[in-house]
């Protein structure tokens, strides 16, 4: 007696890869701009990165309809916070809000694999990585999405962040300079593009530091 399964799924995977790296006084958040479904490409020019607050950017891969809904919910919650507290949300606060928002839909999850990047209240770079239901951790770097399995081992090799279980507590941020980190991200994406069919077209890179926000785009293989 096998159970009959639905031939319709509420979810779809639009593919794509997201990466974020935290520095001593900067944060780099990047995502490719390819949106696909099955073996087809829907568009080569779709941004997976959203600005949640002055110092918090979220890059999300997975089901983009859920990602869009998640971005809107967080955006509205941030407006409420600003009205009540008369200031922007800090990145760690946004990180907790994202976690709670995801767990709220524990039994019909947002099919979104998120990386949150920004500056904490001390101006240091912070990166938070999530699963689909809100489990999160502050780390020095992270990759999510279809190319994550290709990028993460490479970042481990270049940036291995100390385990949060180590004592004394070590800084999670990388000693790399901002320019080196941006270059590293470009390398990650070019490599992932070679072997992951869902990653490519171009990569959108956001660099956040004390002077503000900068945006760069780098072309990737279109095949």
């Amino acid at each position: 007696m096998t159970k009959e399964h639905a031939n319709w799924s509420p979810y779809d995977n639009n593919g794509g890869t997201c990466v974020a790296i935290a520095g001593a006084d900067y944060c780099v958040i990047a995502a490719d701009t390819r949106m696909s479904t099955g073996y087809s490409i829907l568009t080569r020019d779709y941004s997976k990165i959203s600005k949640l607050a002055d110092k918090s950017f979220m890059a999300s891969s997975g089901f983009q309809a859920d990602v869009k809904a998640l971005q809107k919910v967080l955006s509205s919650r941030h407006l409420i916070y600003q009205h009540q507290h008369n200031k922007q949300m800090s990145c760690p606060a946004m990180a907790q809000l994202l976690s709670n928002t995801l767990y709220y839909k524990r039994f019909f999850p947002y099919y979104a694999f998120n990386v949150l990047g920004g500056l904490d209240s001390e101006g240091k770079g912070c990166v938070f990585t999530y699963d689909a239901v809100g489990s999160y951790e502050r780390v020095g770097y992270s990759a999510q999405g279809s190319g994550a399995t290709l990028i993460t081992p490479f970042l481990d090799n270049q940036l291995k962040s100390p385990s949060p279980l180590l004592l004394p507590a070590k800084d999670a941020v990388t000693p790399l300079s901002e320019a080196e980190a941006v270059d590293l991200v470009k390398t990650c994406f070019s490599s992932a593009t070679e072997r992951d069919i869902y990653t490519g077209d171009s990569v959108e890179i956001i660099i956040l530091n004390a002077n503000g926000v900068r945006r760069e785009t780098e072309q990737l293989r279109k095949d």
């Binding site: 809107k72 919910v73 955006s75 509205s76 407006l79 409420i80 009205h83």
Partner: protein
């Protein structure tokens, strides 16, 4: 208005067809400290008098940002005003979430008015004791509305509410015809003059008033004290002098202009009939 046997419940009509509890709520607005609003075709300005209970306490906030394109100034029970501001903010956020565009001011004031009306027709509620001057910007330009506890709302070129607001209204009535074409700074100047009128001789400084602006290309923002004081100094509005020579010429041209602004209701007629 004297105490009578028809004023206990909001759901009891008087033989003359009045709801006294609602009228008493409007009295509460008149007791609050003054708030004024005025608008041109492109900008709207709100200003209010900030009276602290004692030297030791801080001033009550009477101007609230509702959204980038809407702000509100209140007079009366400020607690009720705070709650209504929260409602307005929530409505703007929900509208923006659903339609990805700003809630038109005219729609917001209707929702606010309907909310106030509910409290005039439930025996277990009381009317909100606060008058709201809603200033906002939408596709058709700048707007200023007044929402009162009765559930009525009106659109104005300029208006004043709260204690000694009649003095401000008289000033605004003289000036309102030139408001549509006024520049942002001229509007602020007129707002400050109007506020000064309500102070009855007391010195106008930035510590007793708050000014906020919204306009084309400018999100709703409350001006900081230093900016306001600089404007007061620039326009030399602090003491009870006659306005500058430039405006004296306009006054000579016409006196009591047509009363398009807030018509002061006679004391005995039901105020909701305006």
């Amino acid at each position: 208005m004297f105490r009578n046997q028809y004023d206990t419940d909001v759901t009891t009509w008087s033989p003359a067809g009045r709801l006294f509890q609602v009228e008493y709520a409007m009295e509460a607005v008149k007791q609050g400290s003054a708030a004024i609003g005025l608008r041109s075709n492109t900008h709207a300005v709100l200003a209010c008098v900030n009276k602290a209970n004692s030297e030791l306490s801080s001033h009550q906030r009477k101007i609230f940002k509702v959204d980038d394109h809407i702000g509100v100034a209140i007079a009366g029970l400020t607690a009720d005003g705070r709650v209504l501001s929260r409602y307005m903010r929530s409505e703007c956020i929900n509208y923006g979430y659903t339609y990805e565009s700003p809630l038109p001011v005219g729609r917001l004031v209707v929702q606010l008015a309907d909310k106030a009306q509910v409290c005039t027709q439930r025996s277990w509620k009381r009317p909100y004791g606060v008058g709201l001057l809603v200033a906002g910007l939408d596709e058709s330009g700048a707007h200023l509305y007044y929402n009162c506890p009765s559930g009525n709302y009106f659109e104005y070129q300029a208006f004043a509410i709260g204690s000694r607001s009649q003095a401000a209204k008289t000033y605004l009535e003289r000036k309102f015809e030139k408001f549509p074409e006024s520049s942002r700074d001229e509007l602020i100047k007129d707002a400050l003059f109007a506020i000064r009128e309500t102070l009855q001789g007391e010195k106008l400084t930035s510590s007793v008033c708050t000014v906020a602006v919204v306009g084309v290309g400018e999100a709703f923002n409350i001006l900081d004290q230093a900016t306001v004081q600089a404007l007061i100094n620039e326009f030399e509005i602090s003491s009870e002098e006659a306005p500058a020579a430039a405006t004296a010429a306009e006054e000579a041209a016409g006196d009591a202009a047509a009363d398009q602004g807030g018509a002061a209701a006679e004391e005995e007629a039901a105020p909701m009939d305006i």
